[in-house]
């Protein structure tokens, strides 16, 4: 799989710093599961964090801290989730955790024109939704008050002249108005995360928006 559209540096750094909303973390972790280039970029941003930690102004611990911690080492651990290994399926592992399985476990809700969505449960600062767009169908024109990441999981979509296929991620900010169109080859499934509601340019989608919660 050749990935042509990667994460931007600011998002990679914010992910490493741990300052992104949960929905964005989910999109980054899902893309990184498919993209070694961005995996290496995240690891290098982690290294910056390591240097900061190693050179930060120290704050002395209480006298008994070491003894207290040493005494804890033999206690059975609360729980260690097993180290995550690659999961088989269309959805990357982090998404499978949120969906509770692969594609067949997604609880789709139709939102018109054959388009379906499933909103995933994350913290309220941002929204993560899976979108199902039938081949050849366009999403309504929309722009964003904030940032949006769109990760393709199946099929492909065109946005202007760019084609985004499985593993590709589109990074858009509030200045972008776009009309993603699913490629005719296959129905397109993607993960879209936004930190502000989408703003549709036409009235009808705006009315629909109030009912379906896009």
């Amino acid at each position: 799989m050749t990935i042509r559209h990667h994460l931007d540096d600011a998002t990679l750094m914010a992910y490493a710093a741990g300052t992104l909303p949960e929905a964005f973390n989910l999109a980054v972790a899902s893309h990184v599961s498919l993209c070694d280039e961005c995996r290496a970029a995240v690891a290098s941003c982690d290294a910056v964090g390591g240097v900061l930690m190693d050179t930060v102004e120290v704050s002395d611990l209480a006298d008994e801290s070491l003894a207290h911690t040493m005494a804890r080492l033999d206690l059975p651990e609360a729980q260690t989730p097993p180290r995550r290994v690659m999961k088989k399926g269309t959805l990357p592992g982090p998404l499978q955790d949120y969906v509770g399985g692969d594609l067949e476990s997604i609880k789709w809700r139709p939102i018109g024109m054959g388009v379906k969505q499933a909103i995933l449960t994350t913290s309220s600062e941002a929204v993560a939704r899976l979108l199902y767009i039938p081949a050849g169908i366009a999403m309504p024109d929309h722009s964003h008050g904030g940032n949006e990441l769109t990760l393709v999981l199946q099929g492909a979509f065109f946005d202007e002249d760019d084609r985004f296929a499985r593993g590709d991620i589109e990074v858009a900010d509030g200045s972008v108005t776009h009309t993603p169109i699913a490629d005719i080859g296959d129905d397109c499934i993607c993960l879209a995360v936004t930190d502000a509601p989408l703003e549709f340019k036409k009235l009808l989608p705006r009315i629909v928006q109030r009912f379906v919660g896009i």
Binding site: M13, A16, A29, S33, M53, L73
Partner: protein, 237 residues
Amino acid sequence: MQKSSKEIDPFRDVSRILDMNASTHTLQSLPRPATLTDGGPCALWGGKMSGFGKLSVEQKSQNSDWIAEMLRVRDQKDRKAFAALFTHFAPRIKGFLIKSGADAAMAEECAQDVMTTLWHKSEQFDPTRASVATWIFTIARNRRIDMLRRQRRPEPEELTWGPEPEPDQADTIALMQETEQLKAAMIALPDAQRELIEKAYFGDLSQAEIAKITGLPLGTIKSRIRLALDRLRHAMN
């Protein structure tokens, strides 16, 4: 929007000047960064040194990678090595968390938790992919998200599959050297820029503000990690 690969990428550019003579040194005789801050670019900015630029003479001269101690914890559950790691890193974890907005009591508790996690998860430490400081940073970051934000942090799938390939000592040394180069380069950054990066990691910058950070010397360390990942993929297939 998506940047094309032809655009100038500040994250990868500065690093080229850091491409020093790698992989000719042994574990015992690693070069320390030749110069740190004296008369460097900071002088141009005329600013005071920020917290993380201050390295004592003692720190400059000691072998500061802590890999030997970490491997003794991982492979032999060595408590003496753990105590040495604790003495060095716990005050740094606490300092980092206080800078990130935790109060002293929470930072203390969290530092102990992080060191306990280091003990229990030591088998996950891989010196070809992260330095000890980097690995501890990631544990502390995740713990901070748990405590301050009460959220889980989705993690990517791991690449490891079945029995781990034998770690390559040359890879370990190369990553260690590049981490040292990164450290020297970060210390040599102008104060204003270094403070921006600190703020990004302490959670004081928005994503749009982070996008304005330039000149981070990540190129060589990123290539190094990429190489380690490629080898891992190769071992899996």
